[in-house]
Structures are given as structure tokens and as C-alpha cells.
Symmetry: none
Subunit: 124 residues, 4 copies
């Protein structure tokens, strides 16, 4: 369920954080269910445990997961972070539109891209 894209310029720990965020928001990982241990996931992805550690620390800090000492990490039940994610998205979108406007991209061109992406989904 977690995979790493080494071509991606984003740091690995960030990729892991985002992947878990999406799985939790989409409800694929349900509240109170256990997530893989640091060691297990590190082995599975064959990356440094420090990296997983860092990702889990961030997820905990953001309220996505909670630890139980000696047992492991579990998905929190908190609807709050969906709003955070949505906020981040809208901010990123607005920033991108600003950049597009700077280089002369028209609204019509953006609409075309948007429709293409959303149509693709409705076919699934």
C-alpha cells in the first residue's frame, strides 16, 4: 500500500507521510487500526528505519496516528485533518494559477486540463 518513487524529488519521508494521509482520509485505513511497525515497513521498502521514524513522528504530530507504547502505532479518528488537507490543496491550486497567469495561460486552457482529469476519474 505504500510505495516510493525514487525519481520523485520529494524526500522519501514526505512521500510516506502523504501516502498515509491519503489512505487515512479515504478511509482505507480505518480509525484504531494498526499500521506497520517502523522496522517492518523499513524492511518492506528496504529503506533506512530513521526515515520511517521521521514519517511516523510527523503523522503523529499532525494527529493522523497515535502510538501505544510497546504495541505500535494506530490510526486516529479525527475528521479535523481532512479540512487541513483541503486547505493545503486550495492554496497550492491558487498559487499555481497565479504562476500560469504570469506566463499567459488562459482560463480556458486550465478548464480543459481540469475536465480531462475529472472525466478520467468518472470512467473508473
Amino acid at each position: 500500500m505504500i510505495s516510493i518513487d525514487y525519481q520523485n524529488r520529494k524526500p522519501i519521508y514526505e512521500q510516506i507521510v502523504e501516502r498515509f494521509q491519503i489512505l487515512i482520509i479515504q478511509g482505507i485505513l480505518t480509525p484504531d487500526s494498526q499500521i506497520p511497525s517502523v522496522r517492518t515497513l523499513a524492511m518492506d521498502l528496504s529503506i533506512n528505519p530513521n526515515t520511517i521514524q521521521k514519517a511516523y513522528a510527523l503523522l503523529e504530530q499532525q494527529g493522523y496516528i497515535y502510538p501505544i507504547k510497546g504495541r505500535g502505532n494506530f490510526v486516529a479518528h479525527n475528521e479535523h485533518f481532512i479540512q487541513q488537507k483541503r486547505g493545503n490543496f486550495f492554496e497550492a491550486l491558487a498559487t499555481l494559477f497565479k504562476k500560469g497567469i504570469e506566463i499567459g495561460i488562459t482560463q480556458a486552457e486550465c478548464t480543459r486540463v481540469m475536465e480531462a482529469e475529472y472525466k478520467e476519474v468518472s470512467h473508473d
Copy 2:
């Protein structure tokens, strides 16, 4: 015309590169016009000449500017890179929409953001 945002996580040299790209694409810097010398710009922004050097080297490599030895750097006349920039934008936009879809953002919500940004521009 060039300013640095130290809050920005982007490296200084990248900020400079992007700023020049926009000024050139928008036609504010016209072909064959001279851009500030490495030393001058370094002084103006009070940063190290090496950092400017790096930015200029990238701009040259991407075809935005060309150097004349002993004279300085000049804006190239190449319509080619506008297309590159546009391509990058559309790719980034599509990627962002994909992310939005993953967290349940609707097309209507994206449209609202888009219209807000484009209306702001038409008011200028």
C-alpha cells in the same frame, strides 16, 4: 526587478532563475538587451556573486540568455522556451488535480478557485 524571498524554501539561485524566466517570457526583458552583471546584481541583492553565477549558468544552459565574453549576459531570442514553460505548467496542474481528486475535492470547487484567481487579474 529581482527580489529574494528568504522565507521561501526554494534556493536563492532558483528564485533568481525563475524570476528572469518570467521577465523574459513576458517580454519585459527584450531580446539582446543586457541583464545586470554578476557583480552588480550580487551587490544589489547583497548576496554572493557565486550564487548569481550559478543562476546565470542555468539560464544560459536553458537558452534564456547568452554571454558575450568580457561584455556581459544578454537576453536570447528564442520562442522555444515559452512552450517548455507552458508544458511544465500543464503537467503540474494535471498532477495537482489528481491529488485533489484523491482527497475528494470536486470539480466545482476547483472551478471556484480558478475563477477567483482569474477575476483578480482582469481587475488590474
Copy 3:
């Protein structure tokens, strides 16, 4: 595998870039294999790490290598750049013949040089 010619007027970083290009094109450095770290190579050649950094940055930009943060740099698998290199060669060759023609060099003389070089190789 990498050596520097201080007599050569070419900058050190360029010599390093070209050396790696050849090693990669010849398949001596295979795709996904790791190349020496910036610091290691700098120590081995007893030059400044920044110079290696610059060479690696260029190789990355040209698609010859790709970095994994915190791990190192690796040879990319891209057949594309062999064509680039070939193109560059043919262009350089044509330019040189034009110069030869200007000073009255005959085709027969060029052929003689060519055969000498290619014979030398077949003896290896």
C-alpha cells in the same frame, strides 16, 4: 577510472563530465550502479568537492546520472544521450572538414589520417 589532465585547458569539471559520459556510453558504468560520492572522488583526485559537485550537477541535468537523496548518485538508464553524443560528433567532424577544405587539405589526406586511427584500434 577518472583522471585529470592539468595541462589540458579544459576546466576540471568538464574533464570529469566527459570522462563519465564516455564510461556510461561504453557501458563500463552500468545503469543503476552507484558512482563515487562527491567527497570520495574529491579526496581521490585531491580537488575541491565543489568542483565534483558541479560536474555531477551537469551530468544529472543531462540525464546521465540520477541522485537519491542521502544515498548518492547512480547511473541512469537512458539510451537517448548516445544519440546526442553521436550528433555532436558528426557536427564537429563536418565543421572540421570545412576548415580543412579552406586551407586546401585534400580528401585523400583526411582518409589517410582516418585509416591510421581506425587501424590502431583494430590492433587492440
Copy 4:
């Protein structure tokens, strides 16, 4: 008769030197004929007189021209430098073939380029 290519990475003074060498070798500039003064040529090409000065100094040093104080610079009559030029050419050609061999260019491919260039000339 002299023109400068600013796109060319070669320094201007070198371009001027080479251009004169060719004109002299080809006999277009005949022995004892006067070449333009430093100032005149600098004006015509609208470049720095220092640059012409440097070019003429090199040409004199290589025996292509000789100065007469108060009168100007004149073409020398020396068949010697044609041999030099030829030597340089053959050396450059051999070096280039070596590079081509390194990246797997065949002799047949080189021959094709050579024939194309020489055919083009015979049509003139």
C-alpha cells in the same frame, strides 16, 4: 572580409586570428599588402581595440604579418605557416577520430560525413 560570430564560444581575438590566417593562406591577402589598422578594424567590427591589438600581436608572433612603424601592418611572405596549419588540422582530426572511436562511431560513418563535405565543395 572579417566577421565575428558572437554565438561562437571562441574568443573574438582568436576568430580574428584564424580569419586572417585563412585569408593569407588562401592568397586572398597577398604578401606585402597592408591590412586594416587596429583602430579601423575595431571601428568596423565595433569591438574593443584591445582585442584587435591582441589578434595582430599573435599574427605577428606567428609570422603571418609584419609591422612597419608609423605605417601599419603588412602580410608577410612566408610559406612556412601553411605547414603549421596543416599540422594543426591533422592533429585535430586525429584527436576527433579518437573521440569518435570511444563512443562507437564507425569508419564508414566518418567516411560518409567526409564525402558529403567534399562533394559540397566540388559543386561550387
